[in-house]
């Protein structure tokens, strides 16, 4: 399906802890984006009012699909609300869902892939997390929700940066990067961000998966000082070796040593040459079936043997979709890249298995 032909209603999901600034961002979108009419779905009417004609309150209802898979969860309240909204198609152009601070983003996102009616009517554009720079590291220590929200996000607003020191900010950014290497991060005060950086991202559209180079790899090239916060031994091809006995280095909360790392969510990124399609698809089907509950998100751009086109895929838990995207250009290197973000994944085993898919 070409992008122009996709007339489905775009949906933006806002996640983040209570007080991080979700409603501030929502009100900015509503007041600034003139000409676009939004249907806003909230889980609780907060203290800050939301100024919008079409505002729906729903009670979060997580449903397990009856297919025996514990990670195949959807939000029943969203299925119903989207169905109801589709009876008033003429009244709005886009949907924004503001989730509660403790909401698990996986069922929200999966609703747009697992329910046929919702999938036919609406497309998930992006998951946006608003993060309070001062409190997020504590949240990451205390809870798994904060981690899940960051792991799932395509766009992260590091908000309230005016209330944090430069050092704090760098530490927070590094902590976020360890969980999610490919989200776009914006530093904001009072959610001041260009609306185009939040809306119409096409983050789940296969046609728009352009590059999954983990952002921080690019960034780290310009970072001259000690980068232990940005380095991670699982990142393929990165040669920096962290020296634990570095005499001048004082261990602190910003460090990424195993003994300090409180995050259970990690990302793994691998590259390889042409893949054998049969071996690869057998493996990806198997790995997402078996490890689906632990795989939060996955993205890949693949070069399949004897195939003139790029193959792209993306997944949430065990829901994987993939398609041919376009011809490989002469000026680009044919290469296969895949990123897994997940909990308790065996990076070494994934790497070995991925490399075993390389065509002979």
């Amino acid at each position: 399906m070409s992008e122009a032909a996709d007339s489905r209603i775009p949906v933006t999901v806002l996640t983040g802890y209570l007080g991080a600034g979700k409603t501030t961002l929502l009100n900015r979108i509503l007041s600034e984006n003139h000409g676009t009419r939004y249907a806003v779905i909230v889980n609780e009417f907060g203290e800050i009012g939301i100024d919008n004609d079409l505002l729906v309150e729903t009670d979060e209802e997580v449903y397990e699909m009856n297919n025996g898979c514990i990670c195949c969860t959807v939000r029943g309240d969203l299925i119903r609300t989207v169905e109801n909204l589709m009876k008033r198609k003429g009244a709005f152009d886009a949907i924004i869902i503001e989730t509660t601070g403790v909401a698990d983003p996986a069922p929200v996102a999966q609703t747009f892939f697992m329910d046929d009616d919702v999938h036919d009517a609406a497309r998930l554009d992006a998951v946006v997390a608003v993060v309070d720079t001062r409190h997020v590291r504590q949240r990451l220590k205390d809870t798994t929700e904060a981690e899940d929200q960051i792991a799932f996000s395509d766009v992260i607003l590091l908000n309230k940066t005016d209330l944090a020191s430069a050092e704090e900010l760098a530490g927070v950014e590094a902590a976020i990067r360890r969980i999610n290497p490919y989200a776009k991060i914006h530093h904001t005060e009072r959610c001041q961000v260009a609306i185009s950086d939040v809306l119409d991202r096409g983050a789940f559209e296969l046609e728009r998966i352009l590059d999954i180079d983990p952002e921080f790899l690019k960034k780290s090239e310009s970072v001259q000082d000690h980068e232990c916060g940005l380095d991670h031994d699982h990142h393929n091809g990165h040669a920096h070796k962290h020296d634990h006995d570095h005499p001048d280095h004082e261990c602190g909360p910003d460090c990424n040593h195993d003994h300090e790392d409180t995050h259970s969510v990690k990302s793994y990124s691998f590259t390889a040459g042409d893949l054998d399609p049969k071996i690869f698809f057998d493996w990806i089907n198997q790995i997402t079936q078996i490890q689906g509950p632990n795989i939060l998100r996955m993205k890949g751009i693949l070069s399949l043997r004897d195939d003139p086109q790029r193959y792209v895929l993306q997944g949430i838990h065990m829901n994987v979709e993939g398609d041919h995207q376009r011809d490989w250009r002469d000026d680009e290197k044919r290469e296969s890249r895949i990123v897994f973000i997940g909990r308790e994944l065996d990076g070494a085993a994934l790497k070995t298995a991925f490399e075993a898919c390389v065509a002979e």
Binding site: D59, M65, N66, D77, R80, A91
Partner: protein
């Protein structure tokens, strides 16, 4: 040939019905449109009309909306507000004996009795469907993992019928022996109420969103496939171990709406592409009532005598089809 009186509706046709002799079409935009009465249109709800069902006496339409109101709309265009729950979306509604009306939003449902008294019911998870038993003030509420049966006027714990999964619509068979739900995963579930025997009805390629009992409750017609699927309920054990009828089979379009004739063994079938057919049970004889066009059929209703069929589509086409005698 059947004769069609067309009607343009502003909005998604949520329901078609007859209020007395007047055909009434509820639009998602908030108004009710009429064919054959003194009025052509009356505004009912702000913020959208979400659900509508005819009153059991067949003289009015009961509607719920995004403005939290529940209204009674008569064929002459009169609108009476029955109840209001501010800031709630009323998206489920059912009518029952003695002019009672049940409606729900989220985890709360209310029953308005004829006297105007309103009773509140709560569930730990959201209500997803409501249906009154044909006799007695008993209300079935579908929900995640089953159905809860409330006795509206009596104290005591409600009866729980459990079956894992998300249940959507709920319907009683006309004589009250069976309870059937549609499910999230392209199936129906049923209970024989006498002994709570479970019945599973599966094999649908799509979600079942429209169900209709045939005359005397002999069959339950359903959408969700490229034919109307009719499960036999005349035997002692309902459809268990029996194959359903498949009527109006088409290779190129899904059935979206079904409505059984009030007295004959015949069903009106609306398809994804807008086509409407009437099909007889015993010989699968088909009569084309409307050609494809203007969106999926979203509403069908026979009048009391079964000589006129009101239809509506998601894109606002509607009309009344009069069948030859």
């Amino acid at each position: 040939m059947p004769v069609t009186t067309p009607l343009d509706i502003d909005g998604f046709v949520i329901s078609a019905s007859f209020a007395g002799d007047v055909a009434a079409f509820a639009s998602g935009e908030g108004s009710v449109f009429f064919a054959g009465g003194p009025e052509t249109q009356t505004p009912v709800h702000k913020n959208g009309l979400l659900c509508a069902t005819p009153s059991p006496d067949g003289n009015s339409l009961i509607t719920g909306g995004g403005d939290g109101r529940v209204c009674k709309v008569c064929g002459d265009g009169r609108v009476e507000e029955l109840a209001e729950q501010p800031r709630k979306w009323i998206d489920i509604i059912a009518t029952g004996p003695q002019d009672s009306v049940a409606y729900a939003s989220g985890r709360t449902a209310w029953v308005r009795l004829k006297s105007g008294e309103i009773k509140e019911l709560q569930l730990p998870r959201a209500f997803s469907g409501l249906a009154f038993a044909p006799k007695g003030m008993r209300l079935a509420a579908s929900r995640y993992d089953g159905v809860t049966l409330f006795w509206v006027n009596a104290a005591g714990d409600p009866l729980e019928l459990s079956w894992k999964g998300a249940h959507s619509l709920v319907t009683y068979s006309p004589e009250g022996k069976y309870l059937v739900t549609t499910m999230q995963e392209n199936a129906l579930h049923g209970w024989r109420l006498a002994d709570r025997q479970d019945m599973r009805m599966t094999g649908y390629p799509g979600k079942v969103k429209s169900v209709s009992w045939s005359a005397k409750g002999r069959y339950l017609a359903t959408s969700g496939a490229q034919a109307a699927i009719l499960w036999p309920f005349m035997g002692k054990s309902g459809p268990m171990g029996q194959a359903p009828l498949e009527l109006g089979v088409r290779g190129d379009s899904m059935v979206t709406t079904v409505c059984c004739h009030p007295s004959e063994e015949m069903v009106a079938i609306g398809y994804q592409d807008g086509m409407v057919m009437a099909v007889r049970f015993h010989d699968n004889a088909e009569v084309l009532l409307r050609r494809p066009g203007a969106g999926p059929v979203s509403a069908l209703a026979w009048d009391r005598k079964g000589t006129r069929l009101a239809f509506g589509t998601e894109e606002g086409a509607a009309g009344v089809i009069t069948l030859p005698d």
